[in-house]
């Protein structure tokens, strides 16, 4: 009997270990120095030397680290799904304009709040409002790109179409910005820089709930995604309902990208780069392995990016987008140059 599929248990254990380590490093870093021992104490029985340390940990660093994990996992999984669905190694939520779609949703909500008036304005600033608006925006752009992709098979054309949708939404946003008050504009601008901090526990709960819903859909399309690796025609011939798979992929990607963008702003390159790094590490295309692997790797990379963004020992924090681009763009260039043929 031949060996069917490799076991990746050890690699997974190592990855989880790394995730835990980075998580601890991440919450131990910040403008205020907190000794490691106190850090553990804060989580065990709450008996910490200084009350301020506990407050920093529980109300600032821990929520931020959890946000980083959800954002990293969710965006990376979105990227993985798009790369398989579009049969395109360069697809990702940011490149295909999905993040822009989510931005548009939020922009309409923040900048257009004055047009909607009273009750809507209240909804506009609630966390659910942001999440729903961003998901709808993401879904609309993603569906439009998908419709175009059914007509246009060419890899490059699809990327350019995604880019055009990005420009379109950007122009709509500038028109909205033109008619907005300085206050609203500032609010939108800060949001668009991208940030993992400043989320309340309530907002994290919203983020988590939608993340779990999105990931549940993903688990149910693992099998059909594998047959899509051979192309749509083969997938159909193996009994796969391609339309249903495509719709489920669209919904889960929109939910994940939408809710993440709503709370942390448009974050670049994570969705594109992490799946490639994971595929390099695991050397497989099997989604049963890739989905958990990409989720864990995404969390690790996002935590690392966030740790760097805090500029350890300094009181400044860099915009998270600057770090992810700094990390992601060279990786993509390196992959393209090194392998010439990148697989997905």
């Amino acid at each position: 009997m031949v060996s069917p599929t490799k076991s990746y248990r050890n690699t997974f254990l190592i990855l989880l270990g790394v995730l835990l380590l980075i998580f601890i490093i991440n919450i131990s870093l910040g403008s205020v120095y907190i000794p490691l021992k106190q850090l553990f104490l804060a989580f065990i029985d709450g008996d910490v030397k200084k009350e301020s340390w506990k407050s920093i940990l529980l109300n600032y660093r821990l929520p931020k680290a959890i946000t980083a994990i959800i954002v990293g996992s969710g965006l990376s999984i979105s990227g993985l799904l798009m790369q398989t669905l579009f049969r395109n190694p360069l697809a990702g939520p940011y490149v295909l304009g999905i993040s822009s779609g989510a931005s548009l949703g939020v922009a309409i909500l923040i900048l257009g709040a004055s047009f909607f008036g009273g009750t809507m304005a209240g909804f506009a600033f609630s966390s659910w409002g942001h999440a729903i608006a961003a998901s709808i925006g993401a879904f609309l752009v993603l569906s439009a790109v998908m419709l175009a992709a059914i007509k246009v098979r060419n890899t490059m054309s699809i990327l350019i179409i995604g880019l055009m949708f990005g420009s379109l939404t950007a122009s709509v946003i500038s028109v909205l910005a033109y008619f907005s008050s300085a206050n609203q504009l500032q609010q939108y601008l800060f949001w668009s820089f991208g940030s993992l901090g400043n989320l309340s526990w309530n907002e994290i709960l919203v983020l988590l709930i939608i993340f779990v819903i999105g990931m549940t859909f993903v688990i149910f399309i693992i099998k059909p995604l594998n047959s899509l690796l051979l192309g749509e025609n083969y997938a159909k011939s193996m009994g796969v309902n391609v339309k249903r798979t495509r719709n489920l992929t669209l919904i889960s990607t929109s939910l994940l990208t939408g809710v993440i963008t709503a709370f942390s702003g448009p974050i670049a390159f994570i969705g594109l780069a992490v799946p490639h790094l994971t595929k390099l590490l695991f050397s497989t295309s099997n989604h049963k392995i890739l989905v958990p692997a990409v989720a864990i790797s995404g969390a690790i990379i996002m935590l690392i990016c966030d740790s760097i963004a805090q500029l350890p020992t300094s009181e400044y924090t860099l915009p998270i987008n600057a770090i992810t681009s700094l990390f992601g763009a060279p990786i993509i260039i390196w992959l393209l140059v090194r392998k010439r043929k990148i697989t997905y």
């Binding site: 031949v2 688990i219 690796l229 011939s237 193996m238 595929k279 497989t284 099997n286 697989t343």
Partner: protein, 265 residues
């Protein structure tokens, strides 16, 4: 009914073609095909004559204009995707999208109609995969990535995938289009073996007319005016092959049982 039971594929008054905005483009009509088990069928015809359209219609990729198709005595329309995938598998010409799939994983995908919701392979699945590798003589390739294979090896692996799907019918669309003469003959020999020894019904669209004349049990000839399905001997006997290519350049030589360059050339 007893006679019907032996028909793995049967069509009655089948018309194939395209409908586009009110306009109906019929490619062939009134096709009455009856196919038994364990036959190698070669579908011959000029480029653009509609071979792919016929195969696409038989595999439910596109709808028939009119008439009925029966697979194992069940109307094709009433079969769902998974049921169809258990009676009919495909080998296509199109390039596979880039991926990291190993040969084993690729062949194992053939088990998808049978596996559970997450795609776990059972003992039975493993057995069918193993048999597929044995039948195609590709066991030594299992650990390779599919993109490392030569065209000839890849074709065999794709056939192995179809075999793992464990269907009575395998349909191949120009499987030897990219192959040299050695691998072309090897592929056809494999298909002949699968039909003869393992009772698969194998339908191949091909341009290898001379090879088809020697190996096929049944030929399907498509010409602009006509569709003929019969054994090779009968078609040679009643001079049907003369009409396959209506050209001054090529003609059928009845004594050699081969197509040859015309004297006028």
């Amino acid at each position: 009914m007893d006679l019907n039971n032996q028909h793995i594929i049967k069509t009655s008054k089948l018309s194939i073609g395209y409908t586009s905005k009110k306009k109906v483009n019929t490619i062939a009509k009134n096709l009455n095909i009856e196919l038994g088990k364990g036959k190698l069928i070669c579908l011959l015809g000029k480029n653009g004559i509609g071979k792919s359209t016929l195969l696409r219609t038989l595999t439910k990729v596109q709808p028939a204009l009119s008439g009925e198709i029966f697979i194992n005595n069940t109307n094709l329309k009433s079969l769902n995707n998974v049921e169809l995938a258990k009676s009919l598998s495909l080998v296509l010409t199109e390039h596979l999208p880039e991926s990291n799939l190993s040969v084993y994983e690729l062949v194992a995908l053939g088990r998808q109609p049978y596996t559970n919701w997450v795609g776990n392979l059972s003992e039975t699945d493993l057995k069918f995969i193993d048999t597929a590798f044995e039948q195609t003589n590709t066991k030594h390739l299992i650990n390779a990535k599919y993109y490392e294979l030569s065209d000839g090896q890849l074709q065999k692996v794709l056939i192995a995938r179809a075999l793992a799907q464990n269907t009575g019918i395998i349909i191949l669309d120009e499987p030897t289009a990219h192959l040299d003469i050695h691998h072309t003959i090897e592929t056809f020999a494999l298909l002949k073996k699968l039909a003869k020894d393992f009772h698969k019904t194998i339908i191949v669209s091909t341009h290898e007319v001379n090879l088809a004349l020697q190996l096929a049990d049944i030929l399907w000839l498509m010409t602009p005016s006509n569709f003929m399905a019969d054994t090779t001997e009968n078609l040679i006997e009643n001079d049907s092959l003369y009409h396959l290519f209506e050209s001054d350049l090529i003609s059928f030589n009845k004594t050699l049982k081969q197509f040859t360059l015309s004297n006028s050339y």
